[in-house]
C-alpha cells in the first residue's frame, strides 16, 4: 500500500508491475520469455483473472507474475496480441478486422486458449 502511495508522488503517471494495483503483469512462457501486458488486458483470460485476484493463496497475486510451463513463446505472443485485439474491439462500432492465425500455430493456440479460458 505504501509502495503505491510513493509511486503516486514521484511518478504520477506510469505504473509498473508491483503491488496489487499494478498496471502491468508479467506472463512467462515455457522457454522463459517474459511478456509484460496491461493487467486489464490479461484479465480477458478467466484463468489469469482467477490467479491474480483469487483469495490471495496464489503467489502470482503478490508478484503479478504468472508462469506457463506448457505454453511456448510463439503461442504466448499470439495470446497477448489477442488480448489487445479483444479489449480494443469489444463493444466497438468500427469495423472489426479479422484476427489472422497461422495454421502451424493454430493447434497449440487452441490448447492454450482452452487452458486460459478465453
Amino acid at each position: 500500500m505504501s509502495e503505491g502511495a510513493e509511486k503516486m508522488d514521484e511518478d504520477p503517471q506510469y505504473g509498473g508491475c508491483e503491488g496489487p494495483d499494478a498496471t502491468y503483469v508479467k506472463l512467462r512462457s515455457s522457454d522463459n520469455h517474459e511478456f509484460i501486458v496491461k493487467r486489464e488486458h490479461a484479465l480477458t483470460s478467466g484463468t489469469i483473472r482467477n490467479m491474480l485476484s483469487g483469495p490471495g493463496q496464489f503467489k502470482e497475486n503478490e508478484t503479478n507474475e504468472v508462469t506457463f510451463k506448457e505454453i511456448p513463446s510463439h503461442v504466448l505472443q499470439m495470446v497477448c496480441m489477442y488480448f489487445t485485439y479483444k479489449v480494443r474491439y469489444t463493444n466497438s462500432s468500427t469495423e472489426i478486422p479479422d484476427f489472422q492465425i497461422d495454421p502451424k500455430v493454430a493447434l497449440e493456440l487452441l490448447m492454450a486458449a482452452n487452458f486460459l479460458y478465453c
Binding site: 511518478d11 503517471q13 506510469y14 505504473g15 509498473g16 508491475c17 498496471t23 502491468y24 512462457s29 515455457s30 522457454d31 522463459n32 520469455h33 517474459e34 511478456f35 509484460i36 501486458v37 496491461k38 488486458h41 511456448p72 513463446s73 510463439h74 503461442v75 505472443q77 497477448c80 496480441m81 489477442y82 488480448f83 489487445t84 485485439y85 479489449v87 480494443r88 474491439y89 478486422p97 484476427f99 489472422q100 497461422d102 495454421p103 502451424k104 500455430v105 497449440e108
Partner: protein
C-alpha cells in the same frame, strides 16, 4: 488514434499502446515505470533506426495502420551498460511451431480432408 506496439529486448516483450502523437520521450517514461530504467539509459530502435526523443511515434513511422491491436509494430530496446556504452540491440527469437501434419497441409491431394476441417 491509438497505436499498438511490442517493445522487445532479449527475452522480454512489452505490449503497450500509445497515441500517435506521443513523443518517444513519453514512451521511455512509460518503460521507466515498468522496467525501472531511466529514459537516459534507454535507446529505442524501429527497424534498425534509432528513435529520437523529440520525435513523435507518428514521425517514426508508427501509425494506426502499421501498428494495430492484433498486429502490433515491433520496437527494439537497449539499455546502457555499466561501462557507459549501450548494449547491442539483441532480441531472442521466439520458439518455432512444429511442422504441420500432412493432413493439415493446404490443398494438395487431400482436398476432401481440408473441407471437413473448415
Amino acid at each position: 488514434m491509438d497505436i499498438y506496439m511490442m517493445i522487445r529486448r532479449q527475452k522480454t516483450t512489452i505490449f503497450t499502446d500509445a497515441k500517435e502523437n506521443t513523443s518517444v520521450m513519453e514512451l521511455k517514461r512509460i518503460l521507466e515505470g515498468i522496467l525501472k530504467v531511466s529514459p537516459e539509459n534507454q535507446k529505442l530502435f524501429k527497424d534498425e533506426t534509432e528513435m529520437e526523443d523529440t520525435k513523435t511515434l507518428q514521425d517514426c513511422g508508427l501509425t494506426s495502420s502499421t501498428a494495430q491491436a492484433h498486429k502490433p509494430a515491433t520496437l527494439v530496446l537497449c539499455f546502457r551498460q555499466e561501462d557507459g556504452e549501450f548494449e547491442a540491440p539483441e532480441v531472442v527469437p521466439y520458439s518455432t511451431p512444429p511442422e504441420l501434419p500432412d493432413v493439415m497441409r493446404p490443398q494438395q491431394e487431400t482436398a476432401p480432408a481440408e473441407q471437413i476441417a473448415s
